[in-house]
Amino acid sequence: MVAVTESAPIATAARTRKPGSPLAGLSAYLQALPLFLVLGVFLLLPLILIAIVSFWDYDFAAMYPDFVTFNYTETLGSWVTWKTYLNTLKFAAIVWVITLFVGFWVAYFLAFHVRTASMQTVLFLICTVPFLTSNIIRMISWIPVLGRNGLVNSALVEAGLVSAPVEWLLYSDFAVVLAMVHLYTLFMVTPIFNTLMRIDRALVEAARDAGASSWQVLTNVILPLAKPGMAIGTIFVVTLVMADFSTVQVMSGGQSASVALMMKNQMSLLQYPAAAANAMVLLVLVLIMVAGILRIVDIRKEL
């Protein structure tokens, strides 16, 4: 993806090997082999196959090995595709801004305002638990809240703020963004929290002693040092939103589109080569975005 500097931890770890043992070098390969095999068979091979299949011909029944480019020209030549890509990028941008804002303040609160380590652990776990439960259930759970007769609408009507239930709360772009923020904010909180916890508290003290206000400490010391965490969180959130089809489908009630949803529809019509061409375009787009972010952060140093 991008050029990376040799990571220091690996170099130090290398020294722990027993010198002169001929098996030591071999065992590293044996230990790495299972990971390579699994990712090779279930990631690399399928991606290569998608690249090949995207040039194949197909009809309603099967696909035929060939070298045609119309899967790409049809995809990229269609106004619908461009609109769908723009729509997906729009979701990614909005969700990114919101999750970055919410994620930073939540992480900042946990790292700098909660005083005991055990309280930090407990509060962090409270944030983490929903992430380990079903995404689909968490999506569905918005229906009784946002629906026409849902909690929010009942409350609004009851309070006399609106005369009729608000229709755009559910099955709209608003619902899609809200559900995505709900599902993905934690991917922002965790890396930022991790980075903030590693900031040397002496730096903050020093800034304070030098007369910085707490706002100046935040903007001049903490924010710049939090950038790597924000970058990693951004990778998570952006790639998850770019790949999303279920949230868009369920929460927009079929009224909005995303690239992955378009792919899914092509797949259900057995138009695999067309879906494969779409997959290649989406993959390249996502990898470019990730490579761009990786230029400002070395993941291995941040772990």
């Binding site: 230990q31 699994v38 991606l47 079903s134 689909i136 809240v145 009942s154 291995r300």
Partner: protein
């Protein structure tokens, strides 16, 4: 210890954090409450009486499809993914402590596994099995698809663990005459055990809830998330919420048990 008084910033952020927690848990609690809806109740408030009607409804197969079967499949798949994720991540973590040819490409392959859109992995494995003439099934193609999602998390966690792991302990063990297996078994393993349990929890939960990667790879029999996804479009009774409540409760139990195990191990270690 001297404690300075809380600033106004603290209270503003504390309220923000509390709202965030309400945002996270609020909707979930709404469906938990609504799953106890009376037999004539609908998908929204108010409650028309309180009953266990919809939980009973879950157990009748014809009502909601094959809930029991898909739960058993997802459970078995989750356990398989958990075991393999822990083993493969641990081995890879050990490998990355040394320098070896291809370490950097392999690391970035793992990162790629994290960022490649799930549906593309799903499509690729589906087409791969089709071209090889193999029948996709939850224990083969879906199993592999899930591993591409859980392994990067496992590898990154092990990477972080070994980054902070001082080689001094192993050197001391070796100086005392321990073999490399003894060093691993009695020194390294007990120290990283809590992290391994954490990796296991990730592996199980991510697989148990995985949906996009299972879409094209599950074969004839649905996993639980696929079953629930199908229900969102054609079930219009609170039985959907009952299912949500049951599976969420199950996830909670798994998490609580795991966190409990980690605390127990940590405490035993600090005491020893």
């Amino acid at each position: 210890m001297h404690r300075e008084p809380r600033s106004r910033e603290f209270y503003v952020l504390a309220i923000f954090f509390a709202l965030f927690v309400v945002f996270l848990y609020g909707p979930l609690s709404a469906i938990v409450v609504l799953s106890f809806q009376g037999p004539s109740g609908g998908l929204t408030f108010p409650l028309n009486g309180v009953s266990l009607h919809w939980f009973a409804n879950l157990l009748e197969t014809q009502a909601v499809g094959d809930f029991g079967g898909s739960f058993r499949r997802s459970l078995a798949l989750g356990l398989m993914v958990m075991v393999v994720t822990v083993l493969v991540s641990l081995l890879a973590g050990l490998a990355f402590r040394r320098k070896f040819l291809g370490a950097t490409p392999l690391f970035y392959l793992a990162v790629a596994s994290l960022v490649v859109p799930s549906i593309i992995v799903s499509l690729g494995i589906g087409v791969l099995f089709q071209q090889l003439g193999l029948q996709p099934a939850w224990y083969s193609s879906a199993f592999g698809a899930h591993l591409t999602w859980t392994l990067p998390f496992g590898v990154l966690i092990m990477f972080a663990v070994f980054n902070r792991f001082s080689p001094a302990y192993e050197e001391a063990a070796r100086d005392l005459g321990a073999s490399s297996w003894q060093t691993f078994r009695h020194v390294v393993l007990p120290m990283i055990a809590p992290s391994l349990i954490g990796v296991g929890l990730f592996g199980f939960s991510l697989s148990y809830d995985e949906f996009a990667r299972t879409l094209m790879t599950s074969g004839t029999y649905n996993s639980l998330p696929l079953e629930i996804y199908a229900m969102t479009t054609n079930v219009t009774t609170p039985v959907l919420y009952a299912l949500g409540t049951v599976t969420t409760l199950f996830s909670f139990l798994v998490i609580v048990a795991t966190v409990g195990a980690i605390f127990f191990l940590n405490r035993r270690r600090t005491r020893a």
